[in-house]
């Protein structure tokens, strides 16, 4: 890394080799080599760390897979434990994404296409600042402000729309439900998604959008015809980045959610909610012993696998369509 910083002009000089003397060329080669190996080592480190984490999870977690149910948390076999938790993680993150994506895209469109330059600059900074707020702060806000206020709305929803399956059951008096958790998560992941979308939208080729305008398209039509199709891959990769953060989020969920172990339920307004993998690990690890620790580590592997699948899926979606 230091070599690259010390020789910022290295790349430029390669473009015009005829200017260099023999000694300069030798020095050039040395710095090039150094830079090449440093970068290669950094790249390899990522793979090594990833493989190391996977290996650690596999080796430490393996005993839990074959362990007797009585040795594991809640006295059930491993897959009965992991299934509901994996469901909880995916369900709450999916909901969060559902709320966050439209808002993030709208924010990004506003900043990159609609707002005057002076406004968009400060708006962009504000979104980036929002991304830097630690999750425990979002958790505190969720538990102290959002949940009690939402409890009132939940009661109303339950009384008036209780026929809708997602709103069935007795509404929580504290508001600490999976819907609240999903809303907190949505606020947390929105800035990341907005940042990614904004960058992509800003790169829409001017020719395309000006062509649309020249054909008499309104601002909204230009966005629909030129900006959104071009930014499709950006929206998807932003959403996947957000989903990754939501899946792994621990603190905010642990603080806000009222979990019931081993529960699989789609109802949004109850006191009994499915827990998430990350929150379960955080809550159970401090007092776990023996094979329970192995089980928690394997739960980590399950989360790892979910994230992996999600990322692979996103890569496939984000791959640009072949040009016609």
């Amino acid at each position: 890394m230091a070599a690259i910083l010390a020789e910022p002009g290295a790349g430029v000089r390669t473009a015009a080799p005829s200017d260099l003397t023999g000694a300069g060329r030798r020095k050039e080669r040395r710095t090039d080599q150094l830079a090449k190996w440093t970068v290669l080592a950094s790249g390899a480190a990522i793979v090594v760390v990833l493989a190391g984490v996977a290996l650690f999870l596999l080796i430490q977690g393996a005993p839990a897979l074959t362990a007797a149910a009585s040795e594991l948390p809640y006295q059930v076999d491993f897959w009965s434990l992991a299934g509901p938790l994996a469901f909880g993680s995916v369900w709450v993150s999916g909901l969060a994404l559902l709320f966050a994506t439209p808002i993030a895209v709208a924010v990004a469109l506003f900043i990159s296409r609609l707002a005057p330059r002076s406004v968009s600059r400060y708006c962009g900074i504000a979104v980036d600042l929002l991304a830097a707020v630690p999750s425990v702060v979002y958790g505190l806000w969720g538990i102290m402000v959002l949940a009690p206020n939402l409890a009132v709305c939940y009661r109303w929803l339950s009384e008036n729309m209780g026929w809708f399956p997602l709103f069935a059951g007795t509404p929580s008096a504290t508001g600490r439900t999976i819907l609240t958790a999903a809303l907190v998560l949505a606020v947390m992941v929105m800035p990341i998604m907005a940042s990614v979308c904004r960058e992509v939208f800003a790169q829409t080729p001017t020719a395309t959008s000006e062509a649309a305008l020249a054909l008499g398209a309104t601002k909204w039509e230009t966005i629909r015809l030129a900006v959104l199709p071009f930014g499709r891959s950006g929206i998807i990769s932003g959403a996947m980045l957000g989903l990754g953060r939501a899946l792994g989020e621990t603190m905010a969920i642990a603080m806000v959610l009222s979990p019931t172990p081993l529960l699989v339920s789609l109802q949004l307004l109850n006191s009994t909610n499915p827990n998430t993998v990350a929150a379960m690990i955080a809550q159970t690890f401090p007092e776990a012993n023996g094979l329970q620790v192995n089980a928690l580590i394997t739960l980590g592997l399950v989360l790892f696998a979910i994230t992996f699948v999600v990322n692979a899926f996103a890569r496939r979606l984000a791959r640009p369509k072949p040009e016609a």
């Binding site: 102290m144 409890a151 081993l262 006191s271």
Partner: protein, 381 residues
């Protein structure tokens, strides 16, 4: 440490323009903290700065375990370090289970735990101890657990164990239930739905609460004494003591159990003991412990109570948590032994127990128990 901080400051100045300062500060400071404090070491800066006559103890004492003791440990550490300024005491509230296993593996020089080691475990090997010298386990922190609720205009309620068990098992669903009304003549009970709040994490508080219910209301509470709330029971779950407190505070009709020191501005239940209803108090908790027997079959230095939840002692409050300190009978390192012994002596001293009572609302040990415990501490070598 100083170097680390200076570096942190440089990085923060650099990063502050990009709006990442807060993040950077957190990352860097946690990095600095992680570099500190080996388990037990002589302080490299061996200047004896304390001017009083106390023996020149020095070094770092690292222990950890039960989070219930956190506030008390803070009080003890503050008092201890005033006397022995060259000693650093760290207490890491990792939870009882981790505290015990870290003590076994030699990571902690002493452990705090809500559950004592079993007789078989105590006979096993401990990494920091000389083999076969046994353990010193002493009760140091006695604290009542309050059953707290949120009903406007109702500051206190009388409930018997069976009714409490039914509420937490979800069998009594409304505050105007006959069983509650019968025990509280003259109290106007609303028809609010009951939201029973329990701990979502594994906890000694849950362990003692369910033990109390299992002993006193075995017909209504069939889930035994468990540290992790039974998964078959619904109800509201919250993380840690503060989460339970927050959940009770935020919803009218909520009821939950938590360390009594945290229940200050909530309504609390007077539990039925014998034929009386008793409110939680430090004195009541101490009386309940004093009236209980010691577990038999343990060494003289292994002082563990078999709490009598069913007792009918007047004014006793048997819904109580007893937390223990654990040390080696003989340490491999003499300095560590002296540090642990002196620290434990401070914790059970009148001043130490009073400081804990002020800070954490715990019940000071009575004189009989203090002398028993002090004897055990003096055996630490």
């Amino acid at each position: 440490m100083r170097e680390c901080l200076a570096q942190a400051m440089r990085m923060i100045t650099k990063l502050s323009r990009s709006g990442m300062a807060v993040l950077a500060l957190g990352v860097i400071l946690s990095g600095c903290a992680a570099n500190e404090a080996p388990v037990v070491s002589d302080s490299p800066v061996a200047t004896n700065t304390n001017t009083n006559t106390a023996p020149a103890l020095q070094g770092t004492l690292v222990g950890g375990g039960a989070s219930s003791q956190t506030a008390a440990q803070e009080a003890w550490r503050a008092g201890f370090q005033t006397t022995y300024s060259a000693v650093t005491v760290d207490y890491d509230p990792t939870g009882s289970g981790t505290g015990r296993s870290s003590f076994s593996s030699g990571g902690f020089a002493f452990a705090g735990t809500d559950d004592a080691f079993s007789v078989e475990e105590a006979a096993g090997a401990f990494a920091g101890c000389s083999a076969g010298t046994g353990l010193v386990e002493i009760p140091v922190y006695i604290s009542p657990i309050a059953v707290a609720f949120n009903l406007p205009d109702v500051p206190t309620l009388n409930l018997d164990p069976a009714t409490i068990a039914k509420i937490f098992a979800g069998k009594i669903k409304s505050w105007d239930d006959k069983a509650i009304a019968a025990a509280n003549p003259g109290v106007k009970l609303p028809n609010t739905a009951i939201t029973a709040v329990h701990r979502s994490d594994k906890s000694g508080t849950t362990g003692n609460f369910t033990d109390y219910l299992a002993e006193t209301a075995s017909a209504e509470w069939t889930w035994g004494a468990v540290e992790q709330w039974p998964e078959k029971l619904a109800g509201e779950a919250a993380d840690k003591t503060q989460g339970v407190r927050e959940a009770i505070t935020s919803a009218a009709g909520a009821i939950g159990y938590l360390d009594a020191s945290q229940a200050a501005d909530l309504g609390t239940v007077a539990i039925k003991v014998g034929s009386d209803y008793v409110q939680h108090s430090a004195e009541g908790a101490a009386a309940a412990v004093a009236a209980s027997k010691l577990e038999t079959g343990r060494a003289a230095t292994d002082i563990v109570f078999d709490l009598d939840r069913k007792q009918t002692t007047s004014k006793a409050y048997p819904l109580v948590l007893v937390s223990y300190l654990v040390a080696c009978g003989q340490y491999q390192d003499a300095n560590t032994a002296e540090l642990v012994r002196t620290y434990f002596e401070h914790a059970v001293s009148t001043a130490g127990q009073q400081a804990a009572a002020n800070q954490a609302g715990s019940a000071p040990l009575n004189s009989e128990l203090t002398s028993l415990v002090s004897d055990a501490i003096s055996k630490i070598k």
